[in-house]
Each structure stands twice: as C-alpha cells, then as structure tokens.
Symmetry: C2
Subunit: 243 residues, 2 copies
C-alpha cells in the first residue's frame, strides 16, 4: 500500500530534509515516528530535498507498507511530532510517486528592504540594507523564465548531468506585511538554484549586473558569473503540484 | 531636544512594551541602551503599549534630552541592541508627541485555516483548525467599522472612561504565503481590543455568532457577549500614522 503525506516544517532547527548521521533532519524524525506507529520499517520518499534551515509550507512524500492502518494516522502523528514539523494530510494512492510524478514546484524567497534589520521580518525574510532597484530586478526576470541550461545557477561540482530546467513563472510579489517575495515556479530545480538566482537578482538590484546581462550569464554556464548563494532563512517550498 | 525613534520588534520573548519590575520589556531595553549612549537619563514615550508577545513592524516613540548627539545614534543602537528589537530611524522633531499626535494605527492579526498546525505559519499566525466560514466573517466587518462605544471589545475592569473609538478600515487580506490577516485601522484602540475583535470574528466564522449580531453585541456594551481574547502571537502593529 502506498501512503502519501503532506508535510509542513519550519526549517530553522533542521539540517534539511535528508537523513544524515548525527544530524536532526525532517526525514529522520518522520521515519522514526512512522516506524513506531505503523510497526514496519518506513522509508520516506519526498518530492525533493530541502537544504538546512529551509522551510516548507507544503512538502509531499510517500512510503510503502504492507499491513498498515492509515486511519487516524494524521491525528496520531500530530501528537508525537515536534512543534516544528507536522503532517497535514494522509491518503492512500497506488501508482503515485512524490518525486517522479511532480509536475511543478513553487518556492518563495522572502526579502525586505530597509536600512536596519527588522526583527519581525528576520524570522522569515532576508534583510537587504543597501540601495536596491526593484524595477531592474523585475525587468531581469523575463530572462530567467523559460527552458535553459541553468549550470550558472547551481553549486559547482554537483553530479547531476542534465542541467536543463524549465521555469514556468517567476515574479516579485508585494507581501501586505511590508516585505517582498521572489515567487518562482518550475518543473524542477537544481541544487541551491533558487538561492543562487536570488543572489544574482541582488546583484541586479544593487546595480552590479545589468538586467540583460542575465542572458549572457545563463549562456556562459559559468557559476563564477552569477551571485552568491544567499541565506536559507528566506526560502520556503510553497507547494508541489501533481497532475 | 525631542528625538523620535521608529522601532521594530519580535514580541515573542518580550513581556510587552511597558517597563515592569523583573520582566524583559522593549521599553526597558531601549531606555537602558539609550541612557548609556546619550549619557542622560532617557525616558521613552511610545504611541501606545503593546502586550506581552505582540510584535511591531513599526512602533514610534520619543524622548527628550538636553545635550545629546543623535548623529550615528541609529548605527550605535544597531550594535548594542539584541536581535529581537531594533531602531530603524532616528530624527529630531520638536513639538512632536508619539502618542497625542498619532492619527491612526494599523494592526494585522494573522491566522490560517487548516485541519492540523503548520509550523511555518505558527511563528506569526493563529491556527484555526475547525470549519470556518470566511465569507460570514467578511460580511460582519461592516458592523465594526465606524465610531462606536467598544466596551464589549475591551478587557472588563480597565480604567479608561471613554470607550468610544473609530475604526476607519477593517478587512480580511489574503497573504500570498497562504494565510489570512485581519487588517484593522483606527484612530485609537482599547486594551486587548484587536484580540477580542478577532476572537469574536472566530465565533462568526464557526457559526456561533451571526454576522448581524455584531450590531447588538456592540450596542450591549457587554464583554460577556463577545469572543475570547485570542493569542498575542498573530498580532503585529504594522504602522502608526501622523499628520
């Protein structure tokens, strides 16, 4: 039986999704509690990893079990899981794969513009304290949209061979609480991709990279020409869409 | 010389704005650091108190000093203040009073609808886990707007005599991150007023109070007929407007 979970977590005190020895990870905590409840060894497969300190509003994962009772599983998980990771939905769906069937993912990268830090935003957004031209950033987004080889926007040395991905939607959103979000939707993302795109947009905003230069940077496939990998604090996986 | 400060804080670990013996408060921390920097005893006056755990995106306060140098004050404060309270702006303005000159204040009360808690939202929003009719809540807002005696929406036993206040704007806002906010603007607020209004709207949303009943509740001036004082976590002072 294949069981699907919708999961949310505050990444602050996690070393990311994936199990690693002696580190607190979302996968490890969920597998441990599920194994105890189900009474079988549970191995979880998510739509994809998230890095240390990255949060998820809605992550999707699945596991297989032979004789398991999924009634009340969500309610039992609610009680045993720590405050910073919760399961919001549980259902059975054969022939479902959380990673291979994922059609689109949406991330938000939150940031705010202000000379000094704002402790209210600091929980969920990156502070940008220098002069910043948001219009130039908006102008540059059109060059990231579409299907490209995104080698320039991933950590060098990753072992994924095909670095072609499709960004279906990318925009800057005004949050009514007074900060901004880079909202980015794509069919798939490379390692550190959203954080490096945001780091590159910061260089656009401060005038170090011209909006149109984004075309050249993508064509160059050179990680050295894009911006820094910015802090994970502003990043949150908003949702994963399936057909 | 009268010095005005714009202040932001994450209320989580504060016992509110106002100084109280042996408690960590925003006012106490700011007065202590200002007194050290300025070299005179500083007494701060804010636009109004905020309760324990309530945050502020932009609170305004002022103090008087005789021989003080306010150049670089913001920069020096940035260094000495803890991570959860920061001063974003400092300027001199004689004949300014942070409380008496305030024309309007805007608060956001954030909440989210989902069967189980969502750890990402839990930092800044109230969880509503039961069936909730948002349209009824929206319908009821028109009865709160305007000038009324709001005795029903303040903690009983407060010593303020005149409980007439004017709500100039009240609406439910969709936050792009997937939660909601009650955005409420008024010329002044009574003690616990926003939290009790939100508590009453929760009763409307769950069907215990009919939208039009809000008219009667306000007319009754009876605290017993309105909803609970909900958690301070969802509440944030967004801004204070001056002429």
């Amino acid at each position: 039986m294949r069981v699907v979970l919708k999961i949310s977590y505050n990444g602050q005190n996690f070393n990311g999704w994936q199990i690693q020895p002696n580190k607190r990870t979302v996968q490890e905590i969920l597998e441990t509690e599920l194994t105890k409840i189900i009474g079988e060894n549970v191995r979880l497969y998510s739509s994809g990893r998230t890095d240390a300190k990255v949060s998820a509003i809605e992550q999707v994962a699945h596991f297989d079990c032979e004789n398991c009772d999924v009634n009340h599983l969500a309610g039992r998980l609610k009680v045993v899981l720590p405050d910073d990771v919760k399961v919001n939905e549980v259902f059975v769906k054969e022939d479902f794969h959380s990673r291979f069937d994922a059609k689109e993912k949406t991330y938000f990268y939150n940031f705010y513009l202000s000379r000094y830090p704002n402790p209210y935003y600091d929980q969920i957004a990156l502070h940008i304290g220098f002069r910043f031209d948001l219009d130039k950033v908006k102008e540059s987004l059109q060059y990231i949209k579409g299907t490209h080889d995104f080698t320039c926007f991933t950590a060098s040395g990753t072992d994924v061979e095909d670095k072609v991905r499709t960004i279906t939607d990318i925009q800057i959103i005004d949050n009514p609480l007074g900060f901004y979000s880079l909202k980015i939707t794509g069919t798939g993302f490379l390692y550190n991709m959203v954080r490096i795109i945001m780091g590159t947009l910061i260089e656009v905003g401060r005038g170090k990279i011209h909006p149109k230069e984004i075309i050249e940077i993508i064509e160059s496939k050179d990680r050295g020409r894009s911006g820094k990998t910015v802090s994970p604090i502003g990043l949150v996986l908003k949702e994963v869409k399936y057909q």
